[in-house]
């Protein structure tokens, strides 16, 4: 039996009809056309489907859409204005932390979530935060460089304000 749910995605409210077994990832990609969250392993092991659900990064492939009813969802499409890059995205590009790009949306969202909560993370905390996001191309050294750079950049920006 289908159900009506309400989701706020990147600030915009949507009324959606979903099946009991449809995941949040299905709804984002297939109903809303937001394909930034990727379907990787589809079993919660790779982190490519990461979105921010009510303030915390989660695997959208393991979150049933019906369970997200009434929630606030932030996806990679919403982190910066169209045509602009979020400082975390910019740092990933500048530091070559992107190769095929499949894991990148998840990594950027996890990084943004980490830096929102902890602007000056130690390497240990960065590794821990990213430990649910697998990359099969670049390795993780450049990703760590990018996260450190993004943290510096965001702190500097905060300082200017």
């Amino acid at each position: 039996m289908k159900r009506l749910i309400q989701l706020t995605v990147n600030g915009q409210a949507h009324d959606l009809v979903v099946t009991p077994v449809g995941t949040l990832l299905d709804v984002l990609r297939d109903d809303l056309g937001l394909t930034g969250a990727k379907r990787g392993c589809d079993l919660g092991a790779c982190g490519a489907c990461t979105v921010i659900l009510d303030g915390r990064p989660v695997n959208s492939c393991l979150t049933l859409a019906v369970e997200a009813d009434g929630s606030d969802v932030a996806t990679i499409e919403g982190v910066a204005a169209p045509g602009r890059l979020h400082p975390v995205q910019e740092a990933f590009a500048v530091h070559g932390a992107v190769q095929c790009g499949f894991c990148t949306p998840g990594m950027v969202l996890v990084t943004k979530s980490l830096l929102d909560e902890c602007p000056e993370p130690e390497d240990r905390q960065i590794r821990e935060a990213l430990s649910g996001n697998l990359c099969r191309c670049t390795g993780y050294v450049k990703v760590l460089d990018a996260v450190r750079a993004a943290a510096r950049r965001l702190r500097a920006r905060e300082g200017v304000r």
Binding site: V21, R56, V58, E67, V110
Partner: protein
């Protein structure tokens, strides 16, 4: 009919868009009760066809693989109060079954009551999984097996195993008894803490010791009456000098279920004598298990006076036969080493030892 994963490759939209067949989608009913009694009523009414849904991080993969064996999902997210972590008076810490593993891992109350539990929760899955996964869900985790947690196509290549309702166990062929492994991290720590769990069912509430929650059966690891769910977990106030630790070994540290997890607790005198100890292992059998032989071996002595080698051998022997490991001798060795490590860390005598 369970889903056929290969269909997902053929069609990007439609029936297989979520990796599930149409029959599966149509056959699943979702319930959203607002109270515990409503929830257990639904679970009792639908019996074996119903499953309680907490964070979904274990249930949804099972649904996708077609191994859930349930058509009614009873979500607990609207039931009030199940996410709280609170002190009961000034004594026990009471944790709602729907508290996320992240909340448990970062709670100062939990850290104070049982450091091993905070550690085990903080090492369950990845940070992403811990933001959804719950303590109740982890405590009630289904057992896993190489021959069960597989796609329909994979499983179709041989007889259904016992856990899937068939007659044979493909692992333990000699005894033909399901030996699917229990692999949740937190129950080992909860056993060491002497935790009790509150069960709600059609005939009311009851509290049982955490050890009584487990049947030891691979096929159905929880000893719950029909319709019963775990609603709260109670950690007794620790005795003075009581210290705990959790040690985990997994293929990938960042995300995997444990190959083995060992929790230890010791009641330590100022001179380092262990008055009493508790040791529990997860990942070895179809239930988390205490190792009384080890507990007795260290009781009344200082850890330094019990040789590490002897202790490790006692732990290995206590574990009995092991299944579902690429290298059983290695796992047996590991169990001994990890038991020593866990006790040493609990007793604060871990300098120079592995930190894993």
């Amino acid at each position: 009919m369970a889903p056929n994963p290969s269909r997902k490759r053929q069609s990007r939209r439609g029936a297989a868009q979520s990796g599930m067949s149409l029959s599966m989608e149509n056959g699943i009913h979702y319930h959203l009760p607002e109270t515990v009694s409503e929830a257990v009523g639904l679970l009792a009414r639908h019996g074996a066809a119903a499953r309680a849904l907490a964070g979904g991080t274990d249930l949804v993969p099972a649904l996708k693989l077609g191994i859930l064996g349930a058509r009614h999902l009873v979500s607990l997210r609207r039931v009030p109060g199940l996410r709280d972590i609170a002190l009961d008076g000034d004594r026990d810490v009471v944790i709602g079954a729907l508290a996320t593993l992240r909340a448990v891992a970062t709670s100062p109350l939990v850290e104070h009551a049982c450091a091993a539990l905070a550690e085990a929760a903080g090492r369950t899955g990845s940070p992403l999984l811990r933001n959804r996964g719950t303590l109740g869900g982890n405590v009630c985790l289904d057992t896993r097996c190489w021959y069960f947690n597989q796609s329909e196509a994979w499983r179709a290549s041989r007889d259904r195993c016992q856990k899937a309702g068939g007659a044979r166990c493909h692992v333990n062929e000699r005894e033909n008894r399901c030996v699917a492994l229990f692999s949740a991290d937190t129950p080992a720590a909860l056993m060491v803490a002497g935790a009790r769990v509150e069960l709600a069912g059609p005939s009311g509430m009851r509290w049982i010791g955490i050890e009584a929650l487990y049947s030891g059966e691979g096929r159905a690891p929880l000893a719950l009456a029909p319709g019963e769910i775990v609603t709260r977990i109670r950690i007794p106030k620790p005795l003075a000098g009581w210290r705990t630790a959790y040690v985990k070994h997994a293929v990938r540290e960042s995300i995997d279920f444990p190959i083995l997890g060992v929790a230890a607790g010791v009641e330590l005198a100022p001179d380092g004598t262990i008055h009493a100890a508790r040791v529990a292992v997860t990942g070895a059998r179809s239930a988390p298990v205490r190792l009384p032989e080890v507990e007795n071996a260290v009781g009344g002595r200082r850890l330094a006076d019990v040789g590490d080698g002897d202790l490790a051998r006692i732990a290995t022997r206590a574990l009995g036969p092991l299944f579902l490991s690429d290298a059983v001798p290695h796992k047996r060795l590991l169990a001994g080493l990890m038991t020593v490590d866990a006790l040493a860390r609990a007793a604060g005598e871990d300098s120079g030892r592995r930190r894993s």
